[in-house]
């Protein structure tokens, strides 16, 4: 049998082992609550299914071709890039709102908790601005 998709096979093995471990752990260390046991069992089965599916697909030429097409499809790549860009915009807006909320809350109440709310967004925005400068310089030279 020839392996057509080594990466897919490795991931398949990884998920299979993870799923199997979850099921084995359920047997050796059973959960006290029935709901937790059911959740763990379903989770293990899902992981096992994903893993075995990935593993078997790695040996099929047709399945590997389908995976390759899905992975390299230019529209899929564009959709992924646009999605990331939009999510990035949304997250930036959220950071700005948190920052504004924190600053306004601090000045209105003098409660230090509000300042802490603004502190994380400030750090994130500094990283965001600097990383966007460096990344844009990188792509301006590369593309």
């Amino acid at each position: 049998m020839k392996i057509y998709n080594k990466k897919g096979m490795v991931w398949g093995v990884f998920w299979t082992v993870l799923g199997a471990l979850r099921l084995v752990l359920l047997v050796t260390h059973p959960e006290e609550q029935v709901f937790q046991s059911i959740k763990g069992f379903v989770f293990g089965i899902v992981l096992l299914t994903i893993g075995l599916s990935g593993f078997t697909r790695a040996f099929s030429r047709r399945a590997t071709r389908e995976d390759l097409i899905r992975e390299n499809d230019e529209r899929n790549k564009l959709v992924k890039l646009k999605t990331k860009a939009r999510v990035n915009d949304v997250m930036f807006c959220v950071m700005v709102m948190l920052l504004a909320g924190g600053v306004i809350g601090y000045y209105q109440t003098d409660n230090i908790a509000w300042a802490f709310l603004a502190f994380a967004p400030i750090l994130q925005m500094i990283v965001y601005v600097w990383s966007s400068i460096f990344v844009s310089i990188y792509y301006e030279h590369r593309e």
């Binding site: 097409i69 899905r70 390299n72 499809d73 230019e74 529209r75 899929n76 564009l78």
Partner: protein, 76 residues
Amino acid sequence: MKNRVREYRTAAKMTQQDLADRVHVSSRTIISIEKGQYNPSLMLAYRMAQVFGVSVEVLCCLAENMREEDKRYEDL
């Protein structure tokens, strides 16, 4: 951007999946191209043109699209 992919595909009696398989993309990409929602890359346009035996210029209505684009700039 306008194109004549659907016209040539139906004339060749091919399904969207058939064309997708021939040019190594997903059928969703072919659907988007036919609807004019997605503009194919140069290589994909060339692959499709080869499948139908026409030039990229004809398949992608380049002259017509260029005229429309020029008009948009002139109307500014």
